[in-house]
């Protein structure tokens, strides 16, 4: 336990046992290019943490740090430490497959697999080696109920996941994620492709899910952050010009309970952004 991370938690009155993930001095590189610089923050357990900020500020990149999705990109590299369950997720002996099994992800564009609804949900359990039909049936029903989709699809589980509406597809993806009972669910702008009614349903769903899961959500929609999140992290773009070449990167500007960020921001930048003066 370094002094620094204790202060992050203590400064925000988050008891140590209520911290799900801690990021310490995390920088993300794509090749030589540093996309995110020196982020230190905590993800509180059983809370919704929202990442906001202008396009290109590194909030999605930072989200993907937590379940090592950046590993899939050629040349991407993470410096610093991400502590989960007392272990650094970027230790060389940690298998990213295990990380992603504990820290699930829902993507911006609903991406159900081109399979039936049942097979979409059963995909994760089957990856883990569960073959028993009865067990799978129970998992599918529980997950669909958990994602508030069961009533709409229970008679038609053999239908292709792609035949559902956009909002249903996204709830299917959430159901798929909770089927393997992760600790943390990362959501990368989950409502940006949905209409307002579908968005509202997902938001209600998130408030229910947070009883059991820790949720981190990236959003462009500040009202959404206000409506659903307990904590908000504001990221912003930094730029300098070296030899007539502009270099940009993202930094964490402010991280605090959502109320504080929106009502009494500590930084002028944050105040400018949330009042719509830029971004």
């Amino acid at each position: 336990m370094s002094v620094e991370q204790q202060t992050i938690g203590m400064a925000m009155d988050i008891p140590h046992n209520q911290i799900a993930i801690e990021a310490k001095n995390v920088s993300v590189y794509y090749g030589d290019y540093r996309a995110v610089k020196d982020v230190s923050m905590v993800i509180p357990r059983h809370k919704i943490t929202a990442f906001i900020g202008p396009s290109g500020c590194g909030k999605s990149t930072m989200l993907r740090v937590f379940n090592r999705m950046n590993d899939l990109i050629d040349g991407a590299r993470v410096e610093g430490e991400v502590i989960y369950n007392g272990q650094n997720l970027y230790d060389h002996h940690i298998d990213p497959v295990e990380v992603r099994r504990r820290i699930g992800m829902v993507f911006q564009k609903p991406n159900p697999f081109p399979k039936s609804i049942f097979d979409n949900i059963a995909y994760g359990p089957r990856l883990l080696g569960i073959r028993d039909k009865q067990t799978l049936n129970e998992i599918v029903e529980r997950s669909l109920k958990g994602a508030a989709l069961w009533e709409e699809v229970k008679t038609n589980l053999k239908k292709s996941g792609l035949a559902l509406s956009g909002g249903q597809q996204q709830r299917l993806c959430i159901a798929r994620t909770i089927a393997i009972e992760p600790d943390v669910i990362l959501m990368d702008e989950p409502c940006s492709a949905l209409d307002p009614i579908a968005t509202q349903r997902i938001e209600e769903l998130m408030r229910e899910l947070v009883e059991h899961y820790t949720i981190v959500i990236v959003t462009h929609n500040m009202q959404q952050a206000v409506r659903i999140s307990d904590y908000t992290a504001f990221f912003n773009i930094r730029k300098i010009t070296v030899d007539h070449r502009e270099i940009r990167w993202g930094e964490l500007v402010e991280f605090a309970p959502t109320e504080d960020v929106f009502n009494s921001p500590r930084e002028q930048e944050t105040a400018d952004y949330i009042s719509g003066r830029f971004g």
Partner: protein
């Protein structure tokens, strides 16, 4: 300037004119292609059927007073005994024998006709020690009237095509043809004949245009394509998966990829030389089947040919499979990885099933290319004339395009019609394969 209505109208007319000129050009290009294909088809169909004058070596009337069709097995047998007593043994060998040709000379009746009908007391007597009459009895005990009739017609009457006409001549000048045929071949029998027929497809190759068939070449093509398909599919899809899903983006993998693309443009005869050197010669012990106990063969086998064709279509197949894999949206991969799937689980459960229709389309199209290949197989060692149908990977082989080439090279003009019939049969197979490819693509292609 920009709002000048008059010049806008003038320019619009010109813009539209350019558009219609291009459209006309594209249409004409299509039309030329269509006309060429139509000409090709007409030419081949024109050759594949028409009037034929058959001349018999021996007129049936001189053999029997009644029409041959009405004679019984015994009567037909007597005709063979009178005309070709020494060949009865040959017919037994060709149509009834259960032993190989090498063993036949010494074999007993019991061994040769195992499971067939023969007087039990002859069982231990070598066939050659029987009288011709006795041999004949074996023949018609085991053959029905139709088979005996065929023997008599093919071997004694021996109708041969003395002259053949093409389809359009036959349709539009039939009177001239009838007159000409009557003058030149007073004993001839003028018939309208389609060279492409069921008998042609199911008979083995012979040296006469009237009795030859495509079965040998069709079987050769079938064996080769089957082995080619399995080999190329496994190697090609494997290589494509490695390059797309596993290989990192470094200079070595880029070099491999560029080379594969270049290999697709290498002339096929070069692959033939490779196949001859590597498969037929260096690996001759394996491709001849010697290590598996096959004796009467060298390396110029179905297996060598199939492996050569597999190498030939591999580059096309790999590039195609890579494209099919690349067309699977990355959101599917991300979704799978995000669920905690390993790389292999992601590839085998998501990427490969999604890419399969595209891969299969490519496989079938490269199969059509392999079916039509001639040059590399000539180099590897296709037999120009084989009387034995290929029956496995270690057989000697010929394939349909080589058979067509052989037939068109023969001096006898009637073989041109035989070749045309074979071309139609091959085009039909190709069309069938392409149709399957299209159906697969339309049926299983998904939108994401």
């Amino acid at each position: 300037m920009i709002n000048d209505d008059k010049s806008f109208k003038k320019r619009l007319a010109r813009r539209n004119m350019y558009g219609s000129i291009s459209a006309t050009f594209f249409f004409v290009a299509n039309l030329i292609g269509l006309l060429l294909i139509a000409a090709l088809f007409l030419h081949i169909i024109n050759q594949s059927m028409g009037y034929v004058v058959y001349v018999n070596r021996v007129e049936p009337e001189t053999l029997s007073e009644r029409p041959l069709e009405d004679l019984s097995e015994e009567e037909l047998g007597q005709l063979i005994l009178q005309n070709q007593p020494a060949r009865i043994r040959v017919y037994i060998r060709d149509y009834l024998s259960r032993v190989s040709n090498d063993e036949f000379a010494e074999a007993t009746v019991g061994a040769i006709l195992r499971g067939r009908e023969y007087p039990p007391e002859w069982g231990n007597i070598p066939l050659r020690d029987l009288e011709h009459e006795q041999q004949l009895e074996l023949l018609y005990r085991n053959m029905n009237q139709r088979q005996m009739l065929n023997l008599v017609v093919e071997n004694i009457v021996q109708p041969t095509a003395a002259k053949s006409w093409r389809l359009f001549e036959s349709l539009f000048h039939s009177d001239d043809i009838k007159q000409q045929a009557a003058e030149e071949f007073p004993n001839g029998d003028l018939k309208f004949h389609s060279w492409l027929n069921w008998d042609f497809l199911t008979r083995s190759v012979t040296s006469s245009a009237t009795t030859t068939g495509l079965k040998t070449a069709l079987l050769g093509s079938f064996w080769i394509i089957s082995i080619t398909a399995v080999t190329a599919l496994i190697l090609g899809v494997g290589a494509a998966i490695y390059l797309e899903e596993y290989a990192s983006d470094n200079w070595l993998n880029r070099a491999i990829e560029i080379n594969i693309r270049n290999l697709a443009a290498v002339p096929s005869v070069i692959y033939g030389m490779l196949g001859l050197a590597v498969f037929a010669r260096a690996l001759g012990e394996i491709t001849s089947g010697a290590v598996f106990g096959v004796t009467d063969s060298n390396g110029r086998t179905v297996l060598s040919a199939a492996l050569t064709l597999a190498i030939l279509i591999l580059p096309i197949l790999i590039v195609n499979a890579q494209e099919a894999l690349r067309a699977v949206p990355s959101s599917i991969r991300e979704g799978s990885y995000g669920m905690g799937a390993t790389r292999w689980q992601t590839v085998s459960r998501q990427v490969l099933p999604a890419a399969l229709p595209g891969i299969m389309t490519g496989v079938i199209l490269s199969m059509s290319r392999a079916i039509g290949e001639t040059a590399p197989l000539l180099v590897v060692g296709a037999s120009t004339f084989i009387g034995i149908d290929p029956n496995g990977p270690f057989s000697k082989f010929t394939v349909v395009p080589i058979q067509i080439y052989e037939w068109t090279n023969l001096p006898d003009q009637t073989f041109k019609s035989v070749a045309a019939a074979a071309i139609i049969a091959m085009l039909f197979v190709l069309l069938l394969l392409n149709a399957i490819a299209i159906i697969l693509r339309n049926r299983y292609s998904r939108s994401f």
